[in-house]
């Protein structure tokens, strides 16, 4: 198990090198000039040339890549071309915002998705089954931006129950310690801010969690159906156990592995792929950070952003794989 973990961690090195090389090549193949973008359309050619030289953009690609990798090996993620800020210090608030939102969205997705899936399987072909699977189908195919705008229109504009944008009340900003607002509110002893931050999480969290929820519900259902048909369930039932407890205690435990895989993959996807939700709900997350950097051709931010996201993705998968052995002792590495 330990040697497996170490092996997996070592595998991270070639993955990251490959990743950095590929992203570096792609972003330099995209047409566009960062100096032009930074200075704007009304800049003089002299100013653009001067800035290119200053930023080292006129050096050969392999030199630029080499410089970047040298910094990276020393734990330096580089400096943003646009804001001149160190990415290592700049990226954390964005990352924390995304992680908080992702966790909230996944908690919502798992609780609703797993339960809907289990009950659908248990009451197969019932009205509940049909309804929840229809909702799941809609959920998978729903455009997130549309869902987000709809939520805002109903709950923020018309009902006025929930805020439409941001992570907290701008008039009463949360004093940041960890940059996880829920946690920071607790640390600062501010239950009112905890409640505000929670309210800000609901709309984007639901929008972001809808697709994973639908996928999890469908996966749970099919996985459960298989388990519920197996012999040992029939044996348990024959022994006179109460049905619902059979389903949850004996059934789900054996159906959980494929569900866990989906949860892991979805979590990774949400980390980097929450751009739409982050844009609609003005959530200052890492997806938007990288996306805007692409628009501005801010090369170091794109590279470092992608490397950080990729690293987290790899770690989540590692954790999921290790969880398998814990849940199902038959799995050994």
């Amino acid at each position: 198990m330990i040697s497996y973990t170490i092996r997996r961690l070592l595998m991270l090195i070639p993955v990251l090198i490959g990743m950095s090389l590929i992203t570096f090549s792609i972003i330099h193949l995209i047409p566009g000039n960062p100096a032009q973008t930074i200075l704007g359309e009304q800049a003089t050619p002299q100013a653009i040339e001067q800035l290119e030289e200053q930023l080292g953009l006129n050096q050969p690609y392999f030199v630029q890549y080499g410089n970047y990798m040298m910094g990276l090996l020393q734990g330096d993620l580089g400096t943003s071309l646009r804001t001149k800020a160190s990415i290592s210090s700049e990226i954390w608030p964005y990352l924390a915002a995304t992680i908080e939102l992702t966790i909230f969205a996944m908690v919502f997705a798992v609780i609703v998705g797993v339960n809907a899936g289990i009950i659908s399987a248990w009451k197969q072909n019932s009205l509940f089954d049909y309804t929840s699977m229809l909702i799941a189908l809609i959920g998978v195919s729903m455009p997130i931006f549309w869902l987000g705008l709809l939520e805002q229109w109903i709950f923020a504009q018309n009902l006025g129950w929930l805020p439409a944008f941001g992570r907290g009340n701008p008039r009463d900003p949360v004093e940041t310690v960890t940059n996880f607002y829920l946690l920071d509110s607790i640390i600062n002893g501010r239950p009112d801010q905890l409640w505000t931050s929670f309210k800000h999480l609901i709309l984007p969290g639901v929008a972001l969690g809808t697709i994973p929820m639908a996928i999890i519900a469908r996966m749970t259902r099919s996985s459960m159906l298989e388990v519920l048909r197996s012999d040992y369930i029939r044996t348990v039932e024959a022994k006179g156990s109460h049905t619902l407890s059979v389903v949850y205690r004996h059934g789900f435990k054996n159906a959980v592995i494929p569900v866990l895989t989906v949860v892991g993959l979805q979590t990774g996807t949400l980390l980097g792929g929450a751009i739409l939700t982050e844009t609609i709900f003005s959530w200052p997350g890492v997806g938007r950070y990288v996306y805007e950097a692409i628009g501005n051709r801010d090369y170091p931010v794109i590279q470092s952003g992608i490397i950080v996201i990729a690293t987290i993705f790899v770690f989540i998968n590692l954790i999921v794989d290790l969880l398998y052995t814990y849940i199902d002792p038959r799995i050994k590495y």
Binding site: G32, N33, E41, T44, Q54, F165, Y291, G295
Partner: protein, 571 residues
């Protein structure tokens, strides 16, 4: 992690990068301006020394003030930096305008200059020497005194690449300084020869060549004054720790989220600012921003879709704020390429474009048809020019006379991004394509990534192209010098228009400090340019903002950023 997952991850990343690349520059077209048309309680004489009224009542008394005097201003993108001189984006100057002040100040609703940090100024030696008397008793937010030495340090910081606060190694550049003052220390064209401190509150600028726009430049937010002590303390981190003399003090900045400012209690203008604080909130999505305004979570929003204007106007709780126009959107010819070197052809095509339809369809009426390249409010605007009327029959006739009766085909280069002067370039191109088809001309719409578009038009690879220009200091030279002078090739002059007479008139006007003489020269230039027709001037757009009816005394300025010194919030 299995091979498949790595592959999946890789694919999705490639997808994101490619997708974003195709999208090009995603900057929203809302670096806007507006103008309080509603006439809400605007005291035209916003006297600086007006005594503060002791009660919570406002100066007019027809509304009572809200208890919470913190204004939330929502916009599409975040500021790049709070070191105003090193950036060019409107989202940065919008904020720094609150924190910092420059020697001169523009009028509330025009580019007319008046006293700012300098109370008086004098011009000597035909515009080669300027002496400013600085305001006394002004302190920076860090408590240090504002004086002539501080002004000198700021200007030398921008001009001198070896200056200890120039921060060249950290990637700082001051492109606006370079553009407005002809380069940097040591460059041939750099006009500021020396800066002399004559007394604690008296400073002299000596130029080696007169510059007509010198005083206009002194009013620009790019040339505001930072506390020298703050440079000492923060070094290149000055971009996140702004310290100025303005009405509001910097509190905090949470990137891509909000910038919080609080009232400067020691502001030199007695009784101002009215607000207790200002929060600049980023809400990237236009519809989401409108929703936030309607639900009362924000007070003012920038970047309103023209189509939403009607909706706002019908809501009694909301108001529209229009900014005076300060830009030009145009269709340029490449005079270096046949057949566009033919002036008869260019004049004929000028008659083919229906500007009124463009304005109705794309700007929801919020634009004026253009006949000159400078905005109508500018000094020297030639209103006696008779515009090329929209007349397809005449256009066909003139085309025939010019020898293009059998038709003509060319590429119409279309901008890939929306700009304030061109909110929907693709649709605009389609409208113009149809106009041109009416007169027997085939225009093929061509588009590409934004930076590439700018690069290739600068190199002259195009036939006909769409672009525009926005003013910064309210001086006509910023338009003419960049768009029509042959010195701006390669550069802003993408029509490759070179006329010796125009060049010499522009040089004369640029170096003169006599306003009347300059205005006359520019009027002459406009006549020649009208005749030569190197471009089809399309529109001057009027950017709009929306806000709550509670916002009082808000007057958007042409330059896209205005100090919120007089603004207050009603119940």
């Amino acid at each position: 992690m299995s091979e498949r997952k790595i592959w999946l991850l890789f694919l999705s990343l490639v997808f994101v990068v490619v997708l974003a690349a195709c999208g090009g520059n995603n900057e929203p077209a809302d670096a806007d301006t507006n103008n309080n048309d509603a006439g809400t309680n605007n005291t035209s004489d916003k006297t600086n020394n007006e005594a503060d009224e002791s009660s919570g009542e406002n100066s007019e008394g027809d509304y009572s003030l809200a208890e919470d005097q913190t204004l939330i201003f929502a916009r599409g993108g975040d500021s790049v930096s709070l070191d105003y001189a090193s950036v060019t984006d409107g989202e940065s100057s919008r904020v720094t305008e609150q924190i910092y002040e420059s020697l001169l100040k523009f009028d509330e609703d025009s580019f007319e200059i008046g006293p700012g940090l300098a109370e008086e100024w004098e011009v000597f030696d035909d515009g080669l020497r300027f002496v400013f008397q600085l305001r006394e008793g002004v302190t920076f937010h860090d408590g240090t005194d504002f004086n002539a030495e501080a002004v000198k340090i700021n200007f030398e910081r921008w001009a001198d690449p070896d200056h200890e606060y120039h921060f060249a190694d950290e990637g700082y550049t001051y492109s606006v300084y370079g553009t407005q003052f002809g380069g940097f220390k040591g460059d041939d064209g750099h006009v500021i020869e020396e800066i002399n401190v004559l007394g604690e509150h008296e400073i002299e600028f000596v130029l080696n060549e007169s510059l007509g726009a010198f005083l206009q430049n002194m009013g620009m937010s790019y040339f505001s004054i930072t506390s020298p002590a703050a440079f000492e303390e923060h070094g290149s981190a000055i971009n996140e720790n702004p310290v100025g003399t303005g009405p509001f003090k910097f509190v905090s900045w949470s990137k891509d989220d909000s910038i919080v400012l609080e009232k400067n209690e020691d502001y030199w203008q007695e009784g101002y600012p009215k607000l207790d604080g200002v929060i600049f909130q980023v809400i990237p999505d236009n519809s989401a921003r409108l929703t936030a305004l309607r639900s009362g979570e924000i007070d003012i929003m920038d970047g309103l879709n023209p189509d939403d204007v009607e909706q706002i106007e019908s809501d009694p709780g909301l108001a529209i704020f229009e900014r005076e126009t300060n830009n030009i959107g145009y269709l340029g010819f490449n005079l270096d390429k046949e057949p566009f070197d033919n002036a008869d052809l260019r004049r004929a095509l000028n008659h083919a474009i229906d500007k009124e339809t463009l304005i109705t369809v794309l700007y929801a009426g919020l634009a004026e048809p253009a006949k000159n390249i400078i905005p109508p409010s500018y000094m020297g605007y030639n209103d006696s020019i008779d515009p090329y009327a929209y007349d397809p029959d005449l256009a066909r006739e003139l085309l025939d006379e010019a020898g293009f009766g059998d038709g003509l085909e060319f590429d119409l280069w279309t901008m890939p991004v929306a700009r304030p002067y061109m909110p929907d370039p693709e649709r605009a191109a389609e409208v113009m394509q149809a106009n041109l088809a009416d007169v027997g001309v085939t225009a093929n719409i061509v588009s590409m990534e934004w930076a590439t578009y700018l690069e290739r038009t600068e190199q002259g690879e195009h036939d006909i192209f769409m672009l525009g220009w926005s003013g910064t200091n309210g001086d006509p030279d910023y338009f003419f010098g960049n768009l029509l002078h042959s010195d701006a090739i390669p550069g802003g002059n993408r029509s490759f228009y070179g006329n010796d007479e125009v060049d010499s008139l522009l040089n004369q006007a640029k170096n003169s400090v006599d306003e009347d003489e300059r205005a006359e020269l520019y009027r002459e230039v406009q006549e020649i340019v009208h005749e030569d027709a190197p471009m089809i001037p399309l529109v001057h757009s009027i950017p709009v903002l929306a806000g709550s009816e509670r916002v009082k005394n808000y007057v958007p300025h042409l330059s896209t950023s205005e100090p919120l010194t007089n603004v207050e919030l009603a119940e």
